[in-house]
Symmetry: C2
Subunit: 331 residues, 2 copies
């Protein structure tokens, strides 16, 4: 028997513990090609909130009465697949279960000798891959260009900025508190930061900190911040549409500044993506990120909470800002 | 001596003949590397209206007291450049002058034996190149995909649709009158057309005519029409931002539906461009367009007005819809 966490009902507004339900479930035996795995580290991220709604969003909604899912690092207990053996650590998006049988589709092995296991959920997992592939594949950075990052103090944004610096860019971040701005500059090597909450005139602030304009805009937020950026994009600018948290909790999509005139005037590009589009680059990306990590050229922060039973509370704590960096539950 | 047409003053609202001024000017002799040329065909296009304003637009404004410019086919009268000789026909964006000395920068020879000279201002000129390079370089069409074209009955749109059909796409056009919709289907080989002015529900009409969604959207208009299209784009859709006539005459850029959620959800791309970005493809494009034209697989319409003195009136007539297809002045 194993434990699982189901969506009990859909939250209205801020989610609470009543939205989740724990259940004992029998696990069964792996069939040919399958693995029995035990969860070790579970990732919780703000984007899961959107999937708890029944509205059309970027990803299909969770179903009431079914388990929630997220990125999990698990240990192989029993293998019926030639490429895996008991004791291997693997990573994929899986249901919130202590024990489960999985297929090897979209599964990745992770190497506990190269980095802490939890890192494979963050900087060496979806977070790092999103930052790396978005910036390199869409942003196509060239040395000395200016990279502007919104949501810069977030898990993805803070890695994007560090990678940008390693690739020789001038990096400017937009975030929502002076503490975050200090962190961008002191911990994450950003050249400059803009606190959008205390800036009177965001377009003027962008102009001041990006005096040569914006060549690459890594956009985690959308909304009014991204409107302001449009006035400062350079010819052939690349806008990476990674997230639009400004509109995640809206039931109808709001209006923003018309982007077409800016894109035409500057022969600029906007490209939406999800990290799995670049699966063919994951091996190269992980190798590069692990190398930088080993050389201590990349830093990351994480908050680790212990216990499967604490997954819902850890998720809720994200909305109170109780985490520093990536929030992870250790089972 | 030659004649030239200057911007006399900036129009407010609809332009009129008083905005233009004719002047006699001496011409001078070509220096080493230069050519003396005589204008034969002059192109006038709606986008020139934007350049008559003193507001920031996609291209710098015309200056009061200086000549207006547009695409011109000219005959070489005297050459001081080894690659050109008297009697050659050449094409480039030049000042509105009967006779002038030009450099060979951005200059193209045109071959009067392969197509009528006026075609080099339309289907074998900027218009055709814009349609061909935008659709192929940004749209990257694959057989059986659905191409939706806004401003479909315009000079660029009608060529985009025909090229789309030649490349094996399902092609749907949006235009503003039933006469234009009939023309799309009967003359330009579109599979279907949507009259946005008489359609109660544009999103429903797009869904009806693009039952498998929109893979490529060639956008000449922006604004509300493009908002409606966003609801129907497919995964990996490509949106080609060629024009945004819906906002050309606005002094402040209006708001539209936020594009970010749609781009992220569909891993879709928007790319603004001007035709000169793809100069390296012009030779290939012209060869292909000329071949299709010879095979009568592409059709185009044009309105030819005679006389240098009639350039301003021909331009004004564009806004009264007095032209059919490309408006050209024969000198």
């Amino acid at each position: 028997m194993g434990q699982t966490i189901l969506l009990n009902n859909r939250p209205e507004g801020t989610p609470n513990l009543g939205n989740f339900k724990f259940e004992e479930q029998s696990v069964g035996d792996p069939q040919e090609g399958e693995l029995l795995v035990k969860s070790k580290y579970v990732s919780v991220d703000p984007y899961l909130r959107g999937r708890m709604n029944d509205t059309k969003s970027y990803v299909p909604p969770f179903e009431v009465g079914k388990p929630l899912t997220s990125g999990i690092i698990a240990e192989v207990i029993e293998s019926k697949h030639p490429d895996y053996k008991a004791g291997d650590y693997v990573s994929k998006v899986m249901p919130w279960k202590t024990l489960q049988v999985i297929t090897t589709e979209d599964l990745h092995k992770v190497d506990a000798s190269k980095a802490p296991l939890s890192a494979y959920l963050g900087i060496l997992g979806m977070t790092g891959l999103t930052a790396y592939t978005g910036l390199t594949e869409i942003g196509k950075p060239k040395e000395n260009e200016t990279l502007l990052v919104s949501g810069a103090a977030g898990a993805v944004g803070s890695i994007v900025g560090q990678i940008g610096k390693l690739l020789g860019l001038r990096v400017v971040g937009i975030a929502g508190s002076d503490e975050k701005i200090n962190m961008l500059k002191q911990n994450f090597n950003f050249d400059a930061g803009i606190n959008y909450k205390t800036t009177d005139d965001l377009t003027a602030a962008i102009k001041e900190h990006c005096p040569e304009g914006v060549d690459i805009y890594f956009d985690n937020v959308g909304g009014e911040i991204s409107d302001a950026v449009l006035y400062h994009i350079n010819k052939y600018a690349r806008i990476i549409n990674c997230g639009a948290i400004a509109v995640y909790n809206e039931t109808t999509i709001p209006k923003s500044l018309s982007v077409q005139p800016f894109l035409i005037k500057n022969s600029a590009l906007m490209q939406g993506f999800i990290v799995s589009n670049y699966a063919s680059k994951f091996e190269e990306a992980i190798a590069q990120l692990a190398e930088w990590l080993k050389q201590e050229k990349l830093v990351y922060t994480e908050t680790i909470v212990e216990g499967f039973e604490n997954i819902p509370q850890a998720f809720l704590d994200l909305f109170d800002g109780k985490n520093k960096g990536k929030m992870i539950i250790k089972i």
